[in-house]
């Protein structure tokens, strides 16, 4: 087994997820700190995205990421993850389980023990900042039909069927238009990306 060490997170980039998980497996707290940090850096943002989809709340999504990664690291340390090569799948199933619990409880905003240093958190505020100033001209520049569909989809949260009925289009045509609008928006945002 490859020994997972490094002076910082970047030096661990080359290691597969499974190698990192194996490095943590069966260790005591502190013995595989770098591998744990790298696993957190890789997966906490993905768990957070999962949380945003199902919990619809940024604070709750942050809590989910913290809780899930804490459980995963502890299960790895305890040697309870049967196949470390499938750690991604284990993290997803843990996310699903914990999210169900978070949805059920009203205590989702309760204070959680912060078990990781702030430098381990890969979800920096800047990464998640919403740059409406960049989005506005791009939205103004796309086709009228696409603009309407993007607003109805992502702000009003209407389904393709509902949008189709409102605009006199089929649901399939709405999805095609949405994809076209998103592609145009992404191209425009790329050109306006801050240096």
């Amino acid at each position: 087994m490859a020994r997972v060490t490094g002076s910082g997170a970047t030096s661990l980039d080359a290691f597969a997820d499974g190698s990192l998980a194996r490095a943590v497996a069966g260790t005591k707290p502190g013995q595989a700190a770098e591998a744990e940090t790298e696993l957190y850096r890789r997966f906490a943002p993905r768990v957070r995205l999962y949380g945003l989809k199902y919990l619809r709340d940024r604070g709750a999504a942050d809590d989910l990421a913290q809780q899930v990664m804490l459980i995963v690291i502890e299960r790895l340390r305890a040697g309870e993850v049967r196949d470390p090569d499938q750690v991604a799948s284990f993290i997803l199933s843990t996310s699903r389980m914990v999210a169900v619990g978070l949805r059920r409880t009203e205590a989702r905003r309760e204070h959680l023990l912060v078990r990781f240093d702030s430098q381990q958190d890969a979800v920096s505020p800047d990464e998640w900042s919403i740059d409406a100033a960049r989005i506005a001209p791009c939205l103004a520049g796309i086709a009228e039909r696409e603009r309407t569909i993007l607003l109805l989809t992502f702000y009003a949260e209407k389904t393709s069927d509902e949008i189709g009925r409102a605009l006199g289009m089929t649901a399939g045509a709405v999805r095609v238009c949405r994809h076209r609008g998103l592609a145009s928006m992404r191209t425009c945002l790329e050109t306006r990306r801050r240096p």
Partner: protein
């Protein structure tokens, strides 16, 4: 997300993850792939930023688009200050934007029978074009189109009569024919008196 042959999917397909009408099986497939694939996880994060950015922009009233009552209801629920005007063909209305208005809405009534889409053009008293939209979808049986404008843009428009013309478009036999015209006699921006 990968398909059966293991290829990553498009930005549009990943963005579908955030929509409310994606089938559960598709969402689960996307999640499974995103937890395995770092580059798709980054792309999904980008799609989430765009979704959140569009929502923030809509909340700030920073868009101009033809919308539906569903979107106006959402703005109302979110506490956005909307001022609405309703016009029949040939109408002239006195209009103004107050300092605390965030979105101005024009309900443009007309006979749209047999017209699948329209082009809209707004001209200043000088004849200079102030805004233009093409290929605005019209559902069968519609009796009005709903145009939303950022109040900030309206406040900065010059005073005087502005003419909005709707013309038939969209592969219709009468393409280019005037469907309706409306005059907005813009009185400028108003401040509410302090008490």
């Amino acid at each position: 997300m990968t398909d059966a042959r293991g290829r990553c999917l498009s930005f549009g397909e990943l963005a579908d993850y955030w929509t409310s009408d994606i089938p559960e099986a598709d969402a689960e497939r996307i999640e499974a792939h995103v937890f395995e694939c770092a580059s798709c996880a980054r792309l999904l994060a980008e799609a989430e930023q765009l979704r959140a950015g569009l929502g923030a922009l809509a909340l700030a009233g920073g868009f101009q688009a033809f919308v539906t009552d569903g979107l106006l209801n959402r703005l109302a629920r979110d506490g956005v200050r909307v001022r609405a005007y309703a016009l029949n063909p040939g109408d002239t209305i006195r209009c103004s934007a107050w300092a605390d208005d965030e979105v101005l809405v024009a309900r443009l009534r007309a006979d749209f029978k047999g017209i699948p889409a329209v082009d809209a053009e707004m001209r200043l008293p000088t004849g200079e074009q102030w805004g233009r939209s093409t290929d605005v979808p019209v559902r069968e049986g519609a009796t009005e189109l709903v145009l939303a404008l950022p109040a900030t843009r309206v406040r900065s428009a010059p005073e005087g009569p502005m003419r909005l013309t709707l013309r038939a478009s969209g592969s219709h036999a009468g393409d280019g024919a005037i469907v309706a015209e409306y005059i907005f006699d813009h009185e400028g921006a108003h401040e509410r008196p302090l008490h």
